[in-house]
């Protein structure tokens, strides 16, 4: 009963936070506590509905084959039944993938909202912050349950807007404003590709509904060529490259850490950045048909994973390290999708959401305690004063490093196995090496921040309950979220798959390898950063590999490259266009403006206010129409203007 209601009313899930946004903006903004209660409450309620709906989906196996879709007509053009009429719908599509995602997003959002109550306490923009968070939650959930790509694109842009608003939330900080702009512009560049892809899909197949597209693209030869389909797939993939921070458009994500920490945890780790992965997963039917596009996805993913992991080795700011690790993990997910395993990609997205949100929130707790001192080298021994934050962070670290039985191990193993099974040995090697690097840089950070000697200048204190409760809940997720996908009893793969569910043989070799890599990464970090209290080896290593270290620390100079490119090419071209604009376009536009205004003034002369003149003009008008009718009769009209057929 309740389950059925939730399944048939899944649109309530995005609607509730959307209402919370409106209520906070228009009514409760002056009342901070009330605003927070409304935001957290509506998201919690949405989470309850999402849980029931997800329960309904996961207890009926029919929905894996045939998703539950219901939609309302949004706008239609032309008359129904006529061939060239366009019908755009808004609707809900529930299947295991979207149900999982809907539950995950609403669940994690609820706890991050709660965490924000403590973290944002005393901020002058407290209510505004919660209204933005609610808007984000609504947009993200809308994206997740969309039954067609246009609706998804609208939500896609909305989450981009929220991301912009929240990164730049501390408007007094110049760096935050710049980061917000950077994120928005970078994503917009990518979204343009996506938009072109969607338009091409609509033109070619006449619909953007996921189910219909799936059927039509399966028989795409009836509509278009493989070349066109490849182009469409590549264009669509450009969107996720931007949104999910894949190379070379990853540059905005580390800078996005300028936003408040809950934002980093929610938007730039657990939910929004995986929207790109989700979109690729949703349009697997498209990529599946195009071999080269799949390879592009796989290679982009593997390269991004390795590339970001190497940068993370040398970074000093706690949130930046986490940000590069997010980029790297997103690369893993893309890799999984690229080798054709929706199961592994979605599984890693699921587990990653828990442990990465956990680590960000724990990092936020650290920053809160240390008054926003961010350099890991200036911290140490925090676990004694902040046991909950510290131990939950350690759990997150074990999960991301891939130590069994923590969540990250199972999903990473699934990706490695899938890559190997498809015969991508180079990609497998890259992914495996990334796993080693991940364990190393994560534990480097953990040892530096939480263990070793305490720094006398720091006076840390454990954070309030609104912040620690979410940490504990997410830590439970970071431990157990992967147990449904163990190779021995893979419940996950029975629900979420593309094409046919497949159970490969259990690959103990890969499993052993990933444990060994993770363990050696952690051990190396231990010897360099904890055992060696003076950190001599670390320093020596940095000196030996001076140029490499500098290059990594400066993130391969990609930002500088873009800046140079922007400066030399864009600014140069802009200067040229500026002159053109100043003299040619402005002249033209001003001319039109002057002409328009003066013709307005000129025509005004006729409005004399005198009745006789009006009557005269009226009858002149009759005369003119008579002439017109004569000269635009059937034969004359087609000659002159060609309209009437």
């Amino acid at each position: 009963m309740l389950v059925e209601f939730a399944m048939m009313h899944a649109w309530l899930v995005p609607l509730l936070p959307a209402l919370a946004f409106l209520v906070i903006v228009f009514l409760t903004r002056p009342f901070e506590k009330l605003s927070a209660i409304i935001a957290v409450g509506s998201m919690a309620l949405a989470c309850v509905i999402a849980s029931f709906a997800a329960y309904g989906i996961f207890t009926n196996h029919e929905f894996t084959e045939k998703p539950l879709v219901y939609a309302a007509n949004w706008l239609s053009l032309g008359i129904p039944g006529v061939t060239d009429s366009l019908l755009v719908q808004v609707g809900v599509q529930l299947d295991p993938v979207s149900a999982m995602m809907m539950f995950m997003v609403s669940f994690i959002s609820t706890f991050i909202f709660l965490y924000s109550v403590g973290y944002m306490k005393g901020d002058p923009g407290f209510s505004v912050f919660f209204s933005y968070l609610s808007l984000f939650g609504a947009s993200m959930l809308l994206l997740v349950i969309s039954s067609n790509l246009l609706q998804m694109f609208i939500a896609w842009e909305l989450v981009g807007l929220c991301s912009y608003l929240l990164i730049g939330f501390y408007t007094h900080k110049i760096s935050a404003r710049e980061a917000a702009k950077k994120a928005f512009v970078t994503c917009r560049v990518a979204d343009f590709g996506l938009l072109l892809g969607l338009l091409a899909l609509q033109i070619t197949f006449g619909t953007l509904n996921l189910v219909e597209l799936g059927e039509k693209i399966h028989n795409f030869q009836e509509y278009t060529t493989i070349g066109m389909l490849t182009l469409i797939a590549v264009l669509v993939f450009i969107g996720p490259i931007g949104k999910s921070g894949q190379f070379p458009l990853h540059v905005w994500l580390p800078d996005a850490m300028e936003g408040p920490t809950p934002v980093s945890a929610l938007i730039h780790a657990a939910t929004m950045v995986v929207a790109g992965v989700y979109l690729v997963g949703r349009t697997m039917f498209l990529f599946h048909e195009v071999e080269s596009a799949m390879q592009l996805v796989a290679v982009t993913g593997a390269f991004t994973a390795l590339f970001a992991a190497t940068i993370a080795l040398t970074q000093r700011e706690i949130k930046r390290i986490l940000a590069y690790s997010t980029v790297s993990q997103l690369g893993y997910m893309m890799l999984a999708l690229g080798v054709g395993s929706l199961t592994a990609g979605m599984f890693h997205m699921w587990t990653h959401a828990f442990f990465k949100a956990l680590m960000f929130l724990a990092a936020g707790s650290v920053l809160y305690a240390l008054h926003h001192k961010a350099d890991v080298w200036e911290m140490g021994g925090l676990i004694k004063k902040m046991p909950i934050t510290g131990w939950t962070f350690v759990i997150g670290g074990l999960a991301i490093a891939g130590i069994p039985p923590f969540a990250g191990f199972w999903s990473k193993d699934e990706i490695l196995v899938a890559t190997l099974a498809e015969g991508h040995y180079v990609l497998f090697a890259m992914a495996a090496f990334t796993a080693f690097l991940t364990a190393f840089y994560m534990w480097r950070m953990i040892f530096l921040v939480f263990f070793g000697d305490e720094k006398p200048e720091n006076h840390p204190q454990e954070s309030p309950w609104t912040m620690t409760v979410p940490l504990i809940v997410l830590a439970v997720g970071a431990i157990g979220a992967g147990w449904m996908g163990t190779p021995w009893n893979n419940v996950w793969a029975e629900w979420i798959y593309f094409g046919e569910p497949h159970h490969g043989p259990i690959n103990y070799g890969a499993m052993l390898l990933s444990i060994v890599l993770a363990g050696s990464g952690i051990y190396l970090a231990y010897t360099m950063y904890l055992k060696d209290t003076k950190k001599k080896r670390a320093r020596k290593l940095a000196e030996w590999f001076g140029p490499v270290h500098r290059m990594l620390y400066n993130k391969y100079y990609i930002d500088e490259l873009y800046l140079w490119f922007n400066h030399a090419l864009v600014d140069g071209t802009a200067r040229l266009f500026y002159l053109f604009d100043l003299y040619v376009v402005d002249g033209f536009v001003n001319g039109i403006g002057t002409f328009t205004k003066s013709s307005g003034d000129g025509l005004r002369v006729f409005q004399t206010g005198r009745l006789q003149n009006y009557a005269l003009i009226f009858f002149l008008g009759v005369l003119a129409v008579a002439v017109l009718v004569t000269f635009t009769g059937p034969s004359a009209a087609s000659l002159v203007l060609g309209g009437v057929k």
Binding site: G78, P80, L603, L620, V625, L628, T632
Partner: protein
């Protein structure tokens, strides 16, 4: 040609709406006479609630169809949709302007005449023959003439009334000429019969002349250029609520009857009138928008903007197709709300400040955020900015003529851009300039409701046009079923 049969039974239930509206108008008039002066401001509520009740009755009649008196009076979803539109317009005007009317006085006359004008419009929407058409048209026009000079101590108002009655009389003469020519050529006043007879004969020059007269006579009502000269003067001089009703109700009703006359009675000579309508639409869009630019009075600005809007609506007539009719109805409906919003703000502002000048709107956003927001939404909708209703409406209209009349689409697009200039000028004054008198304007309850309703409807239709679009589809479909 069927000879008229007077013994034909009339089903009175088919005329329920018209009879209810007539009864309401008479009732308000009588109440006005018997009630003491102080109680007369309650007449507005009587009229408003009465109209809302009749709208409720009208909605239950959705889907009924039929003919009375061998096609003299047509009942279908098309007519019903228009009737609801007119009544909604009247209800909005009444609800939003009670205080204005109390200031002017003559409440009984004002409300009953507004209702009678609505009745005239409703007759026009159902008219199936030339006589009914003319009857409805004159009922509406004469009611409006009185309404225009309601502020009888104000010279401008009286002047506007004089201008309106003289010029309207002139246009009626031309229209009658056209109608009588049509009757002379076909021997029938029933539109369906006329259509049949015209299809059988070759196009004569007398018929073309009739066409000219009809276009001119009805073009006057919708203030199509070059028959628009009266409207800025009359719009400016008339009391603002009347201007508001004139620009939405009168125009919408005239469109209802033009579609009926040209597409039901004259589809046979479509090739002769389509291009004329297209050209007139183009000119109307151009002139309306251009002359709006230098205006300094908000009422005159809205008057010219409403001329331009009529041009956009005419675009939907050109193809004489179901999609075109749908576009016209859709646009007319949303135009009612945008206009009601803008004019209610103007009327209320005049009440408080006694000014219609644009420059006095400076800093309105600080004095009354609601009024400024409603004005902004209404104007942007008229300019066709998404996601407001006007965008969808224009989209539907211009979609019908993309094949074959691309030049008109371009005129529409370019002139929409031009219109953004003067619409945003109002926004600039309201939002950027500092008010001379910063005292806040308190908006009374009914006005607040009117403003919020118009704004919400404009937003909702823009974001979710589906339901209205389906209703209008069904109405447009019923048009061709007779």
């Amino acid at each position: 040609m069927t000879p008229f049969d007077f013994s034909m039974p009339i089903n009175p239930a088919a005329l329920t709406l018209e009879m209810l509206v007539a009864a309401l108008g008479l009732g308000v008039l009588i109440l006005g006479i018997i009630s003491p002066k102080g109680a007369r401001s309650g007449l507005g509520w009587v009229s408003f609630l009465g109209l809302m009740g009749i709208i409720g009755v009208a909605i239950t009649m959705w889907g009924q169809s039929g003919e009375l008196l061998a096609g003299m009076y047509l009942l279908d979803n098309y007519a019903l949709f228009w009737k609801i539109t007119f009544m909604v317009a009247a209800a909005l005007v009444i609800l939003g302007n009670m205080r204005y009317v109390d200031n002017v006085g003559h409440q009984a006359e004002y409300y009953s005449l507004t209702i009678f004008a609505t009745l005239g419009m409703m007759v026009m929407a159902s008219a199936g023959d030339l006589m009914t058409l003319y009857l409805g048209l004159e009922l509406m026009t004469i009611a409006f003439v009185v309404l225009v000079c309601l502020r009888k101590k104000d010279n401008k108002s009286v002047e506007a009334g004089m201008k309106y009655i003289l010029l309207a009389g002139m246009s009626s003469a031309v229209l009658l000429y056209g109608l009588s020519l049509l009757y002379g050529l076909t021997g029938s006043v029933i539109m369906l019969d006329i259509s049949r007879i015209i299809a059988m004969q070759p196009v004569s020059s007398a018929l073309v002349l009739a066409l000219v007269m009809l276009i001119a006579g009805l073009g006057f009502k919708i203030s199509a250029v070059p028959f628009h000269m009266w409207s800025p003067d009359v719009y400016e001089g008339a009391p603002t609520p009347v201007t508001s009703f004139l620009s939405m109700g009168s125009k919408a009703a005239s469109f209802a009857i033009i579609l009926r006359l040209f597409i039901t009675a004259l589809p046979g000579v479509w090739e002769n009138w389509a291009m004329v309508i297209a050209i007139l639409a183009g000119i109307t869009i151009i002139i309306g928008n251009l002359v709006a630019i230098p205006q300094t009075s908000i009422k005159r600005l809205l008057a010219y903007s409403s001329i331009a809007q009529a041009g956009y609506i005419m675009v939907g007539m050109v193809t004489a197709s179901e999609a075109g009719i749908k576009g016209v109805m859709f646009y007319a409906f949303l135009y009612v709300f945008a206009t009601a919003g803008a004019f209610t703000v103007a009327a209320y502002f005049y009440n408080v400040t006694g000014s219609d000048e644009l420059k006095d709107y400076a800093g309105l956003s600080q004095r009354s955020p609601l009024m400024a927001a409603v004005m902004l939404v209404a104007l942007l909708s008229m300019a066709g900015i998404p996601p407001l209703a006007g965008f969808v409406g224009k989209f539907y209209l211009f979609k019908t003529i993309v094949d074959g009349y691309l030049w008109l689409v371009f005129i529409g697009l370019i002139m929409s851009m031009v219109s953004v200039y003067y619409y945003l000028r109002v926004a600039l004054v309201m939002y950027r300039d500092e008010p001379k008198d910063p005292s806040p304007i308190n908006v009374s309850g009914p006005v607040t409701v009117t403003l919020i309703v118009t704004m919400l409807v404009t937003l909702i239709i823009g974001i979710y046009p589906g339901p209205l679009s389906e209703v209008v589809n069904s109405a447009a479909h019923s048009f061709f079923l007779h």
